[in-house]
Subunit: 592 residues, 2 copies
């Protein structure tokens, strides 16, 4: 079926339902950033494969809204005859609710599958459309019903994340949840987020590529926990362990039935941003709702000492893999055929040789030349190009290990490069260093810190269209909340134990992309009469290519950071390397 | 009447009305930051004279909530027997709605005068109390009725702000308002903000100390403008001019009657943050409301070229007054008796000698030694101390001129000072310079820029408990919105033509306060493929005391900024000074 035929089928369905438009977001019932194939509804109807985007279809028109990370990709993938691209954030570009308000007549109805939008998002959509006298019906799964050949819900096995890696038993973690529930006077706590459920139960799965999660819902009650999951996914051993911890297993599809049966005198704690609106709709209106940031989101984000300790070891191993890769690339580029795809494959093989490696943490972004300028470039057979011994190459990749999740970006020259790239790279590096060195009082949020990574670029009229830092899971999703270092304020304060990425960049369309990414740990630095002050420890260990650095643009402090970092990289990685690689690393980490 | 008697009278009134608590905010029906004496209700009942604070009285208890600028002052002024101080922002301190939710029984009623709270604030209070099953009744003026000997509404004359100063006629300004109304399909626009009304009508008044505004409301309709004002305030000349511009004058107290008569098919544009909730309540529920940032707030904030040009001239004059003051202080301290009060008086006399001077723009903060650490220190006969030839002196002051409003802070040593003060001062200066030099893309908000002024302090475990920058009116209120450079995000982007203060500081309780404040103008710097970039021009011209600077802590760029600024100060002020003062200024602006 062509995109046009799929849209036609949807429009017929809309006609039958008596709605004038349909909103198809990227979400699944767990509001996952990366849904399983079963839930890639927006992708099937639009052809756009990026991770973020919303398709809106009216009887006459269709539009796809996505952010600047995906502008180039969406231009490539969308059939402009069928679907118009709306570049979110560009001047004059309306939100899809504004647009719907303009193209629809007052009195129109818009359908959206309530399972695929959060409580907050549905509220916002409804509120914004109300001013145009357009109503929203979240009770239909119009698009899902039309989807021909839709893949099934994955039924892969769940496995244990052993306690030696976790640092706390599931009982201990659940007790922390119960404490928060008691503090809030809550009798029930609903979690629909797959990474939260995996983390608290010390279980992992294989239902979604790169994210070691499994499809489930969870209701924590005062005296027991209900886990909604296809029971075939559980081994006998895991089933026994869950039972021992007073965790009762019910069928995955029974979640809504159970929600409907929550008694009217219950007090239910839920996160309106992480709970789909169909769950909320299933709750009795009389139930008292306590809406707040999900307790598990917060507990999971503040890594324990054990988790941090394992992650340090993991990052040593990941650094060794990166050193092997970077040396191999330098030695072989121009001498044998290396492509974006084969390079990514090679890096994966170096990671696979490391202890504890389970898989990649996301699809490697392996971008040569102009491809590096596509922020979330996803290389495939058609786009794949050969790396030549000239210009810049950007590689953003990471691994899932039992002892943590990694995410690192390096940009390297493969030969000659334009002088402008040296300035650009140095300005990105200055931003990276400024964030790495940040000192800030407790209470500081990501929105405050973001400018540190951009200031040097801004002074030269440069910028980048993505956030500076995201949270990262522990052998879990490579993107996790609640903290976020970006110009948008999400109200979340940086807390000790949070691990975030530090990844400023700059992108010259059709020329090259530059990004330097390390993981940073928030920690307490000092107490003074002015309060508690925090800073970051850079955890990632891998050389940052100094051939691209214009040392004249660095301040003495920046130079000192750069040289100290490289000294640390050498000292910590060298004992794990053979002589050849030690020699190479010595050269790469030489002081500038 | 003692505070305890006043509270008793209020509690009797609450009893008669059947309410369990009363909220008394600082606001007047125009939501002015500095209300006239008639509206200082919270002050009369609490004794606390700071500009920001909310008194909450229950049958048993009373609490005053204020922010860190006023902690020391509130401790001094409150009778702790009667009223508990709640330090907003301190860990564990509840909001007053949280507190009310805890101390009141479910089913209780809270009274607040709807005229003294904004639409947004009443909504928030109601929403937050609803979770505790406490309702809010905004239809009573309980506190106002109990207020014995309440001063009348001021009846001072209004005067013209001549067009040569304004740069645009009232018709031109009103046409801009009508354009915005047409774009929003609005038939009515309600403005209750005194500075907006003064600005758009090119009128000024004397109803509030320091703020040249007058009591009025305004309704802009499609074909006419209604001004609600006591007609005795208008001279015959002004009345004729208003009539010629199709502005119809009605009685001040008739505003609510007119609001009630707005037809049901009207579309009313109003700003929920700048409109009191009694106005909103008087509107028919059937009227369509367009809630947004008040168009006049935005128009007024983006100064015209004419306004900026006059302000430049005004700041030259203000700089001359400051030079006279600083030299006089240096020459006379320790040789004759100078107190905080007499110094402030002296500065006023230097300003009064300048062309276009009308009055002070706020009560001068003249703080010697430990008094400098009280951020909004208000000197009076009792607190007044003599300045001795040692330690630090902070003076924060400004003037109202026909050609603009000024606001400047300088901190100077009067003799020997602790070495710690030099480091503190230099760190404050580094923050001041960082903000002055900021380059940022269009779309940047104050919340993003705030950290620039704090970074150097944070690195040394220091901080300050107030915002970094506020907007400033044009011969109007010294504090005006919508922009604000502070850690709280108000969603407002920096726009070309906005003028803000740049005033980082550091405060050592009982020792000294340091603040360095200039006014900065937002302007477009460059266009690049990455968008439009903006920067600031520092407008204020007055030496920044270099005796307190540790040049070793400054980077070469910071030193260059400091020396360039001083060169500009000298070049621009010297032609307006006699030889003695030129000589002094030459010395004060010597390169470091």
């Amino acid at each position: 079926m062509q995109i046009s035929e799929r849209l036609l089928a949807l429009r017929n369905k809309m006609d039958a339902l008596g709605v004038e438009a349909c909103i198809i977001p990227s979400g699944d019932p767990h509001l996952s950033e990366y849904p399983s194939e079963h839930w890639k509804i927006r992708e099937w109807f639009s052809g756009f494969t990026g991770s973020a985007g919303t398709l809106v279809v009216t009887t006459e028109e269709a539009g796809l809204w996505t952010d600047s990370r995906y502008f180039l990709q969406a231009e490539d993938e969308l059939d402009a005859q069928c679907i118009q691209l709306f570049r979110e954030g560009d001047p004059g570009v309306p939100d899809y609710t504004q647009w719907l308000g303009e193209v629809l007549m007052p009195g129109s109805k818009v359908a959206v599958n309530g399972e695929t939008v959060s409580v907050s998002l549905l509220r916002r959509i409804s509120r914004e459309l109300r001013t145009a006298q357009v109503s929203v019906d979240a009770s239909h799964a119009a698009a899902e019903e039309v989807y021909d050949g839709r893949p099934p819900i994955p039924e892969n096995d769940v496995f244990l994340h052993e306690e030696k890696w976790c640092g706390a038993s599931r009982s201990e973690k659940l007790e922390q949840v119960h404490q928060i529930m008691r503090k809030n006077g809550a009798s029930h706590y609903i979690s629909a987020a797959l990474d939260e459920i995996a983390w608290v139960l010390n279980l992992r799965g294989n239902d979604v590529p790169y994210n070691p999660v499994f499809h489930a819902f969870m209701i924590v009650e005062t005296s027991q926990v209900k886990l909604f999951i296809n029971p075939h996914k559980l081994t006998a051993q895991i089933a026994r362990k869950l039972e021992a911890d007073n965790i009762k297993v019910s069928l995955y599809e029974d979640i809504y039935k159970h929600i409907r049966h929550i008694p009217e005198d219950a007090t239910v704690l839920l996160d309106p941003d992480r709970t789909n609106s169909a769950i909320f709709a299933a709750l009795s209106p009389k139930v008292t709702k306590k809406e707040q940031l999900s307790p598990l989101t917060r507990l999971k984000a503040q890594k324990s000492d054990t988790e941090v300790q394992h992650l340090r070891e993991t990052l040593l191993n990941d650094g060794v893999a990166m050193v092997h890769f970077l040396k191999w690339l330098e030695d072989h580029v121009g001498k044998e055929k290396i492509t974006e795809l084969s390079a990514a494959q090679k890096l994966k093989s170096f990671r696979a040789a490391q202890p504890g490696f389970v898989g990649e943490s996301f699809g490697t972004i392996s971008g040569y030349g102009g491809h590096g300028a596509i922020v979330h470039y996803s290389v495939n057979e058609e786009s794949d190009v050969e790396l030549k011994p000239e210009g810049l190459y950007l590689i953003d990749s990471g691994g899932q290990y039992h002892g943590g999740t990694t995410d690192i970006t390096r940009t390297v020259p493969l030969g000659k490069f334009p002088e402008q790239a040296r300035t650009d790279y140095t300005l990105v590096l200055k931003g990276h260093i400024a964030l790495a060195c940040a000192v800030f009082p407790k209470g500081t949020r990501g929105v405050h810190l973001d400018i540190l990574a951009r200031k040097a670029l801004w002074e030269h009229g440069l910028n980048y269209g993505h956030g500076t830092g995201h949270g990262i899971g522990y052998f879990l999703n490579v993107h996790e909340g609640p903290q976020s270092i970006r110009p948008q304020d999400n109200g979340i304060e940086m807390e000790p134990g949070m691990i975030s990425s530090n990844e400023p960049g700059v992108y010259r369309r059709d020329q090259y992309g530059i990004r330097i990414e390390n993981l940073i740990l928030s920690r307490v630095k000092q107490e003074s009469e002015f309060g508690t002050f925090m800073d970051f420890e850079t955890l990632t260990l891998c050389p940052i290519d100094s051939r691209l650095v214009d040392a004249g643009l660095l301040t003495p402090d920046e130079k000192a950071w750069f040289n100290n970092y490289h000294q640390r990289v050498y000292e910590q990685l060298a004992p794990r390397l053979d002589q050849d690689h030690q020699q190479w690393l010595k050269e790469k980490t030489k002081a500038i």
